[in-house]
Symmetry: C2
Subunit: 204 residues, 2 copies
DNA sequence: TATTTTAGCGTACACTTGTACGCTGAGATT
DNA sequence: AATCTCAGCGTACAAGTGTACGCTAAAATA
């Protein structure tokens, strides 16, 4: 019961996903990908694509899931680093920047399809980002004892800013990138401080 | 010297631009547009397109400029409203939401091409948004006497959040949209308050 | 061992795309 | 009035697209 067959199928399925991610770049978004080119890079005939996915859309949604998974692993990693004594803000930012450097195409997918042309994609990405926000909100709530609604809004604002800065970071290197990170950290402090203030005020 | 000729040319040029904007929608982004379809809607032969633009790219950049212009007019309008006694935050948010309702496709263009597949587009959009940020930063600097670097970072964070909320607003209506606006306003208050605090602290 | 299942292939087809090329006729210029 | 300019057209083509259909061989099942 080795399942030689199923194993091989999984392998080319992964090859398709890998090929698709690989064809994403600064100049190539998901909607630019063609079934035929993806199949070609994965080493199968165009028509064999359908043995794995009904559609390019189905492939894409799978890719969003994969990127979401990476994002969650990232969060866990950041939490570990913070727990072992890192500054919250700079550790989080650093971790996120590593994500962008290591998996730029996963990030690009989330970034672009968040406001892309398919509602299914937009919802899928929104769902992944919401996980991210909720995690952060939960953390903030525990840490600062503010009410949960304020914690959520604070987390949402932070994630928004981190994401957008990530997008800009994709086009930058070296000095100007460090400046970006610096700005981002200040902006997070603004939100943190302001959020703390209003949450306190409101809880009275 | 009526310039009948030039006048007519301008007219079909505008028809092309209008057709292109019209074909943008939630399900259709600029890179999905085809030269032929745009020409068809504008009522000219595909090959006549080249009498006006070298490229679809050139058309697109023109469209970004136009959207940027709208954005600047918007700012002026918001300033007038504030000057005549409106709350800064709620007036700004309201004005921006009007933009999204009135010119959703101009907004979509800026939103998507900001992280799109053409560097030229990304830079063009970034330039327009930078105007927006600088205007706001200037206003904040004058209003709160904080140092200009902090004012800039504050403005940048605000614009980022407003833009992203705008993107979400495109998919929402009624109740949930009002909730979004409510959240957005809180988030802006966070930044405003936090920004004020750090700017003060730093200027000593 | 005989039978069924299925991942992958090749061919074929109907479309759509961008754009090269040369023509025309109505304004502009002289 | 004679000439020039040029916005718009029609034809044509090569390239690329998604996918329907039927085949094959190897793995799975009986």
């Amino acid at each position: 019961m080795a399942g030689v067959r199923a194993q091989q199928k999984m392998k080319t399925r992964q090859a398709l996903i890998a090929a698709a991610f690989n064809q994403l770049s600064a100049e190539h978004s998901f909607s630019n990908l063609s079934l035929r080119e993806v199949a070609r890079e994965a080493g199968i005939a165009p028509t064999s694509f359908y043995r794995h996915f009904k559609d390019m859309n189905e492939l894409g949604l799978t890719m969003v899931d994969e990127a979401g998974l990476t994002l969650r692993q990232l969060m866990r990693q950041a939490r570990r680093r913070i727990a072992s004594g890192g500054s919250v803000i700079s550790t989080s930012v650093l971790t996120f920047m590593e994500f962008i450097d290591n998996q730029p195409n996963q990030f690009r997918l989330l970034l672009r399809e968040r406001s892309g042309t398919s509602k299914a994609f937009r919802s899928a990405v929104a769902r992944e980002i919401k996980h991210f926000i909720l995690e952060l909100a939960h953390y903030l709530e525990g840490e600062t004892q503010c009410d949960s609604h304020h914690a959520y809004m604070q987390a949402e604002a932070m994630v928004t800013i981190v994401f957008t800065s990530g997008a800009e970071a994709l086009d930058l290197e070296g000095q100007s990138r460090e400046e970006l990170v610096e700005r981002l950290q200040w902006q997070l402090r603004y939100i943190s401080f302001g959020g703390y203030h209003y949450a306190q005020k409101n809880s009275k």
